[in-house]
Amino acid sequence: MPSITKPLIPLAPLAKNDLGLTIRDYEGAMSTLCAGCGHDSITAAITHTFWELSTPPHMIAKLSGIGCSSKTPTYFVRGAHGFNSAHGRMATIATGAAAANRELTYIGVSGDGDSLSIGIGHLAHAIRRNVKMVYVIENNGVYGLTKGQLSASADIGTRPKKGDANVVAPIDPIMLGLAMGATFLARSFSGDKEQLIPILKAAVAHNGLALIDVISPCVTFNDHEGSTKSYRFMREHEVKEVLTDFVPEREEINVAIGGPETRSVTMHDGSVITFRSVPEGYDPTNRISVEEYIRDHQRLGEVVTGLLYLDESAPSMHEINHTPVEGLNKLPFEALCPGSAVLEDLMADFR
């Protein structure tokens, strides 16, 4: 942990967003993670995302479970609401919170242990319900907080810092998402904010659960020779499948949309995602061809990144369950608690 708290410098020439806030207003407490942790870089990307989108801090809810990754919501947007839940239960808390108040922007930060081991069931159900939230998996392939055992996302053949190479097949959260019917699937790398920030912005705009698997090197336990989740391995094996631009709804859309190498999808809030440099034959809205494409590259030992799959037509939890547009905290008491007569009628339906 640094010897000092990041100081506030009165006249630092920092840019301001539409709310008149600087990036410093979107920061949180000092990180206690190891120096050089990929998670800190993702924290910075999230900070930038909300600052650039001018999201009011008090309209953000940040949720997490247990693990190095799950400590990170403390490190961004100190003015946001937060819930640090039990191990693997972030998705359940997020589901409940979203049901109670759909006006907030929900961002859950989890890790490969929290989401692919203990919490995989909850993740699957959150995908199935299409909870409107940003779900970030900070994926480093090891249990860093317990000193570096290989996790469920470790690739076959990858070597821990000490001990034998992994022999068990990994769980790929993108493949899991494709199988579970996820509507927004992206993979990125903590060392590439130019790619990660537009994806995060698109995720915030997505009407449903936006799952982002971010390869995030563990500098202490998984950044060595033989690791498949190190900075060097990622820089040598990353294949940027598509480049993504995010154009918020309020900005005039003057980029050329269309053309042979671009595809654009209009989000439910009016913002536009433009895919650039799309490989020939790649269709980010076709579940089957996306799966095939990822598998082909996996066989070559390559990590495909980018906004890989998007389905903006599927209803989110709120449409499926007809949740009120306003948060429950804004409903009048009579609507929230309609009285015993209404309850009697309801109960009668089940008798």
Binding site: S3, K6, P7, L8, I23, A35, S41, P217, V219, D223
Partner: protein, 604 residues
Amino acid sequence: MEPTDVTDPNYYHRVVDCQWACPAHTDVPGYIRLISQGEFDDAYLLNRDSNVFPGVLGRTCDRPCEPACRRGRVDGTPVAICRLKRVTADLKGDITDRLAPIPEQKNGKRVALIGAGPSSLTVANDLAPLGYEITVFEKFDQPGGLMRSNIPNFRLPAEVLDEETGVILDRGGVEVRYNSPVTSLRGLLDEGFDAVYVGVGAPRGKELDLPGRHDEVESHIHIGIDWLESVAFGHVETIGKRVLIIGVGNTAMDCCRTSRRVGGEDIKVMARRPREFFKASPWELEDAEEEGVEIVVNHAPKRFVIEDGRLVGMEFDVLEWDEGARHSSTLDTVVVPCDDVILAIGQENAFPWIERDLGIEFGEWDMPVVDEVTFQCSRPGVFFGGDAAWGPKNIIWAVAHGHEAAISIDNYCSGTPLTDRPAKGLNLISAKMGMNEWRYHNDYNPSPRQQMTHVDLTERFSSLNLEVELGFSAAQTAREAQRCLNCDIQTGFSASACIECDACVDICPVQCLTITRNGDEADLRTRLSAPSTNLDQTLFVSGPLPQTGRVMVKDENVCVHCGLCAERCPTAAWDMEEFTLLTPKAGTSVLHIPVASSANEGRN
């Protein structure tokens, strides 16, 4: 951009804004850190090494360092560098046994210094320890030059000046001939000195030849620096009640405040132009106004009003200026009654004692032609420095000139070409003491600039010699010293160790770091993390980073040297390194001093 060459002493030197702005390159952050550690002797000596008169300059310096200070760009007010310098002089013990010894065995070379002002004394300070026999010719009976005659005692107590001139003049090797104005350079040259240094200042106050100037019977119109000199040496003890000062430089401020102490009650400083065009330092204006001096702008002197041979007032045109104060129009004409007028409109050089057939070439404005590097005039072996070389500047410039002239004199006397001067060098030593532990206090201290306490106005005028500024208290010193950003603790970067994890970029409190593809400077400045708002500040650019070939760029503008980049770096690619500028002095080896540090291995 090409990778920045940090082995060039000028790169890191420029990052230390105060040291870069100081003509004598005083190691400001270095001595401020020593103050924080309570090492006042060391802090004083570090100062003295470059500026020779810390006690004097800690009270009177023109402070070119302070407008340059990075703290000004960070919270709006610079560190009170000058007053911290005074702290080192106030709190030091006896340091004489730590000064360079004066050898018994002389080197056989005799050097004459004309004038015992700051530049001559600096030459003596540098040459006496090398075995030179120095003879100083001084027209007054005390040393110090303008520090003695023109700076009033209430700003600079005589004891402080006595002590700092004494350690140069009284330790041997230097003979001072007081009351010995040089009236003929030819005569002096005939005495067979190996070299002569002219450090006589700019001793002539400018005249204001307006109607009435020479119509007085008794003289109540004074030339500022002559009048200050008369007060300093006790020849003048009173002045009339109503005094007008013509001019708005620092001499004018000394004149008005001195008048206030010798009988002046209604004192007006008359200025032709608006306040923002004044030459006086803002703090000297404030001090004068605090003492009840009125500053009147937009009044152009027209004539002295003399009645029956007696000065009774002065007539002024009241002006209105356009924007930028380039053109004026006259609104009115007024007579301001007064008993005395002091003219403080500038100083001039005067060399009536230099014969024009000695091979010393005189150029524009009848000034000697002096080489800007060697300080030698067209006659070999005769050197000029301080105000005598290029007209009035200030004490710190005089000191800087003295150091350079001493190098030239040493070269000249040893038969070395004058242009064969020792090069600047640098030293870089890691400031790392352990995991996230540094040899300096790296936290940012948000304290505001400490205000100097002054003697109460009721007491202040009881004596002409009562020093007005009381100096900083212990608490003020501690707080002010912590405001220094330690700009000399440099952010050293080893590109080869960088894994591009972005930790430094993300942690920087002022977003001064960027990892991006290389480009030319104008292009890079458009792609930095924080807007590039200060083009005077340099960009550091690394060599290509190993994994992606991008470069690390640092905008030096508002880096607060907090060390967080180095603390968050997993591979120690960043390190905080203490930079020492090795400034050559007379006697320094001519050899280029290499970068004496392992910290620089594998850099870029």
